[in-house]
Symmetry: C2
Subunit: 443 residues, 2 copies
């Protein structure tokens, strides 16, 4: 088999066989396939596409580039969640302890933030001492002990993905539903889970800007998961504005603790409960979605979720007292308020621009090697579509009203963040039409 023949086949719109896909993935993994051939094939895949079967073959080959973890000795139906990435998208820290508290083991492998979206590992590491680099043995011990492990991807998991992703990033071949699907699902399938709930984001702050593209991605992901023996379903949720009010690692941890304590913003509660409920049904810890929602809300009300969060933190070496004392989390020394440029309804608070402003402050990374500042970030004071409490004008603002509170450390970084933060805000005379948060599902 010659690499150039595989490239020619895909270039001319052909369908690659399992052997051809394996040859490609194995060559990428062991370095025998030159990068220039891999990138030519990647571009041909971006422009010619892949059938559902081909995408499943690619996923399978990527799973087999490493180990598929065996969690058979952990009792229960193991369920994970994956989000395609958003701004203020912190549901993992809420749903993992809640699902575990309701009896579903959650072996969660997450990533770091890149670009304008945040990453679960960065958020967890805002908790002093928290270790995300557990070995597989330690992960199993954590699952057995506290019903949940929240860790980074180990080197054994789909190593082809890491190499391919690095190449895609510099060759303009990221935006491809088959390639995105294989990248996400190969890692999830290799984790050894039985069930998976996907949160496919849609909107200006999401990778997929349109609902149609998000649905296509969701369908692709669900189809691959189910074909690989992982019961998979997807929620499509809006990501036009940040989810919740906190953007930035320590700020988001606090917001998650607020939700686990029965407070927090309504949109974050809604998405978290929806995703956790689906995890309970997949994990056979609830009879149906209605039963599951009651159990999840019960685990919030009883404090069982909060208690489980404390146990997870303690088990993974973090400071469990952060749960009660937020002063133990890193905090930025300075604040800056970004205000409404006019009087009217807050029509838009662009998630991508808020995310980029937060990265500019130091909360995320533009390049893999950048160091994250856990303390900095942005608090959203007014959100579009905010109904307002009695006596509170909601999303109707006066010129000069604070909209965003920037938590910063470095003046130069603030200067870089401000134009982005300012551009994220749009005020309009007309009240924006309400848009549902949960816009679809695929199963």
């Amino acid at each position: 088999m010659r690499a150039v023949d595989i490239i020619l086949k895909k270039r001319d719109g052909g369908t690659l066989t399992l052997d051809e896909v394996r040859f490609f993935v194995a060559g990428v993994t062991d370095g025998t396939l030159p990068d220039y051939q891999a990138s030519a094939l990647l571009m041909a895949i971006v422009l010619r596409g892949m059938t559902a079967e081909e995408t499943a073959r690619l996923t399978d080959a990527m799973v087999h580039s490493g180990e598929r973890v065996d969690l058979a000795d952990i009792p229960g139906v193991k369920v994970d969640k994956h989000s395609t990435g958003g701004v203020g998208d912190k549901t993992s820290l809420i749903l993992a302890p809640l699902a575990a508290a309701c009896g579903v083991p959650v072996p969660m492998m997450s990533g770091r933030g890149l670009g304008h979206t945040g990453g679960t590992l960065d958020k967890l590491e805002a908790i002093p001492g928290f270790r995300v680099d557990l070995s597989l043995t330690e992960m199993k011990a954590a699952l057995a002990r506290v019903g949940c492990a929240m860790i980074g991807q180990t080197a054994q998991i789909a190593p082809a993905d890491k190499k391919l992703y690095a190449l895609r990033d510099v060759t303009g071949t990221v935006e491809s539903i088959p390639l995105i699907s294989a990248s996400i699902m190969s890692k999830k399938i290799a984790e050894g889970i039985d069930g998976l709930v996907l949160d496919v984001k849609t909107g200006s702050g999401a990778f997929m800007k349109t609902e149609a593209d998000s649905r296509r991605l969701a369908e692709s992901l669900v189809s691959i998961g189910n074909a690989s023996g992982v019961r998979t379903e997807a929620v499509i949720s809006a990501m036009d504005s940040p989810l919740g009010r906190a953007v930035g690692n320590a700020l988001e941890v606090i917001e998650c603790l607020e939700v686990l304590k029965g407070g927090g913003p309504s949109d974050l509660i809604e998405v978290s409960v929806e995703l956790t409920s689906r995890m309970l049904v997949l994990g056979r810890a609830a009879a149906d979605r209605v039963d599951a929602q009651q159990r999840v809300r019960g685990a919030i009300a009883s404090g069982a979720g909060l208690e489980r969060f404390r146990q997870i933190v303690q088990h993974q070496g973090g400071d469990p007292h952060v749960v009660d004392d937020y002063r133990r989390l890193p905090a930025a020394p300075e604040r800056y308020l970004v205000t409404a440029p006019a009087t009217g309804y807050l029509a838009r608070l662009d998630a991508e621009l808020v995310g980029r402003a937060s990265v500019a402050l130091g909360a995320g990374r533009d390049r893999v090697e950048d160091v994250v500042d856990p303390a900095v970030g942005i608090v959203v004071i007014v959100k579009p579509g905010d109904p307002g409490d009695p006596g509170d004008p909601g999303d109707y603002v006066q010129a000069g009203d604070p909209i965003l509170e920037l938590h910063y450390r470095d003046r130069a970084r603030l200067d870089r963040a401000l134009p982005l933060a300012t551009r994220s805000i749009a005020v309009s005379d007309a009240r924006p039409a309400p848009r549902p948060l949960l816009v679809g599902e695929v199963h």
Copy 2:
């Protein structure tokens, strides 16, 4: 400027600016652009195409990756010919001396054979002592002395093309009219010529299999040439069967000498006279095509073309006595006849398969580093559409009649060539419809 942004633009169907194209070509030339980015962009160009203006920009950037030769101190209108490549396609050795004999200086830079097609340099090197590696100074001296130089591409000519071609060859990005056009025309424009006649081949043995594709390529090439100040026109000629009867380097030299002596196969004469006549008109050595054809046929009849060939050989260090004594050319020790599998009309003699059989015998190269055997090759005994002389059945053959004579040195190579040679022949009950040799022109 970032390479990935240029890739993304082309991936999404955008039109690259001159600066973007220059950034790409300069990066390829000086090695600052990684191959994996270059190949991703090449694949995006193959699948998204380039406008005529973009292709002209790419050509210009490739010309400027090296030197544009200045031939202003050579009197006369300098004209070259380029063929897109065929099997038995040996017209350069006929038309260069004929055009020079008719007063048109011919500074010809040619390539080597690759794949199933032959190359002019390999044919010239079948002549003992012939040097194709003249410096630019030696080339100018040859032009001044004998009105013609036939050499290889020097390192100063479009160095970007050499790197890009090597990359295209292994990344499935050869088949693209913009990339082919820029590759061909950048080298020709950099030669310093005033006029160019293109022989764009079409058919099973050509790079472009359909007349429509060949016409699109011809139009692209002619448009670039004229935009760069090189008066350019193209002939589209059939390449379903080998041109002439000889395939293989020394065998083809002999056939060219036969044409220059007033003999040779009619199809080879027809194409050679057509191309030379156009060179004479472009070179202002004839009033029009009718006048030009008379002058060219006159240069054959008078022996002026043959005499010029002898001078070129002598000037470039070759043995001029080969013109009179073919025994001075290398000859293969063994012969093998491939015969008709049935009685009927020879319906097809597939040029690509004959070319590949000849390469298998050692006359060409599958890889750039292969060594060519000048002696081996194939003589076509019967051609499809051969009208036959009085009393000669032409292309009607009896089962067992010889069709191809394989000139070989090595038995193992013969064994590799035979299946290809056998498959090249198809005999049919119906006489094949005649197909014209010259199927179109673009100017």
